[in-house]
Symmetry: C2
Subunit: 246 residues, 2 copies
């Protein structure tokens, strides 16, 4: 059956995360309901590059699905968008070989975390950036971030309940961009564990506020103990920005 | 009784406009409910520089209210924000003479209308910019906008049901800024009639799409007939940006 790869974007505010859960509005369930309707009730499964949590946004999540419908790839985008709610959009649909898999073929991902460094509330950013009203030392945050680069066991930086066995991941870059009061931290790597980016950000914030020093990072990494790292930063500042394939 | 001037900002998406209406969530009713609560049930009235319609946003709406509470001006901001919902924020509170009036003392206003010129849907902009997917000739829109500058009778460019007698207003500037796919049109003037900015934008779009020519504008102005101007652009692209006082 023909397989399609699709890049999608969603405002995570109104979803209980990506993955199907009973009686919850999730990205996967909305997508599957629309595809199933297009297939006259025949269930269609969607596979994503990975889950995102409740409240987490996506600018470039990647999914794949199979369909026997004779629809050219360039017509799929419009057909899906005409049926999808406004907080979930299809950005592109492409034909791919039947061997393509959104999760297993992903070679890496980029996440961005957006902080709003201000004491003033902003009604327009409240769901799209994490307001942080205290002073931050960006230089020590950048210093601390260097210790995350390369290949490490990130047991200390993922949710304690993470089920995957192998917690070794490679982070290729962590960049900081400050524009007006918005601080964007971009993470690129070969893969990220459950809550990993949010715990990295929470820990970097504790360095930036002076509660910890950059040199604490290698020690925390070495201990492989979630209790030693920082708080999990809230979901609404986090964006799955893009997924890389060969 | 001491009078306070306050600059407020709101995401208009969740409000049925500024003004109190029975059984509707409006900006005024939320503000007055919070102030009344702070005054232990004693009703407090709020006066604004003007109304905004359902769905219209504000980055710098100005209100005033009177209060006998012994709260220093700089503590008011925090006190109000702690009780206000997240889609409505107080940006500043200042003591003003009892003669100050948010509406009668306003010398001018700036509105901005934000268009997203793209065929792609964007879940993050859906409530904050009007998506316009067709080609636009910006040059002819700018030419057309010149005819609005200065003092004119804007009867053709306000809602037919506008009750105010005098429909003469002065527009001081109309600026266009294109950044990525966002076109911002800034209007500054001494006052704007009901739906005026949205009708100006709707008419400029019809010039930009080639349905009308810039030279139609002076003719439409001269006829003082709402039926001759363009459609009313949707509210969610419109922002009351700031209010000017002496």
């Amino acid at each position: 059956m023909p397989r399609y790869k699709s890049i999608i974007s969603y405002d995570g505010s109104g979803f209980s995360g990506y993955q199907v859960q009973p009686n919850k509005r999730t990205v996967q369930s909305v997508l599957e309901a629309v595809l199933t309707k297009m297939h006259k009730g025949e269930p269609v499964r969607v596979s994503a590059s990975g889950r995102t949590d409740a409240g987490v946004h996506a600018k470039g999540q990647v999914i794949h699905f199979d369909s026997p419908l004779h629809i050219p790839a360039d017509k799929w985008e419009r057909a899906l968008n005409s049926m999808l709610p406004e907080d979930l959009s299809v950005l592109s649909v492409d034909s791919v070989p039947e061997s393509f898999h959104a999760r297993f073929d992903a070679k890496g991902k980029e996440y961005r975390y957006i902080l709003r460094l201000s004491q003033k509330r902003d009604p327009f950013q409240r769901k799209f950036a994490y307001q942080y009203p205290y002073p931050l030392n960006l230089k020590s945050m950048e210093q601390a971030s260097k210790f995350f680069l390369g290949t490490h066991d990130f047991t200390s930086f993922c949710a304690a309940k993470t089920e995957v066995e192998d917690k070794v991941r490679r982070i290729d870059s962590i960049d900081f961009t400050l524009k007006d009061d918005l601080l964007t931290i971009r993470f690129k790597g070969n893969g990220f564990l459950y809550n990993m980016v949010r715990i990295l950000v929470g820990t970097l914030l504790e360095v930036g506020s002076g509660e910890r020093s950059p040199e604490d990072i290698p020690i925390i990494l070495a201990h492989k103990d979630r209790r030693l790292s920082g708080k999990t930063a809230p979901p609404h500042g986090l964006y799955l920005w893009q997924v890389f394939y060969e």
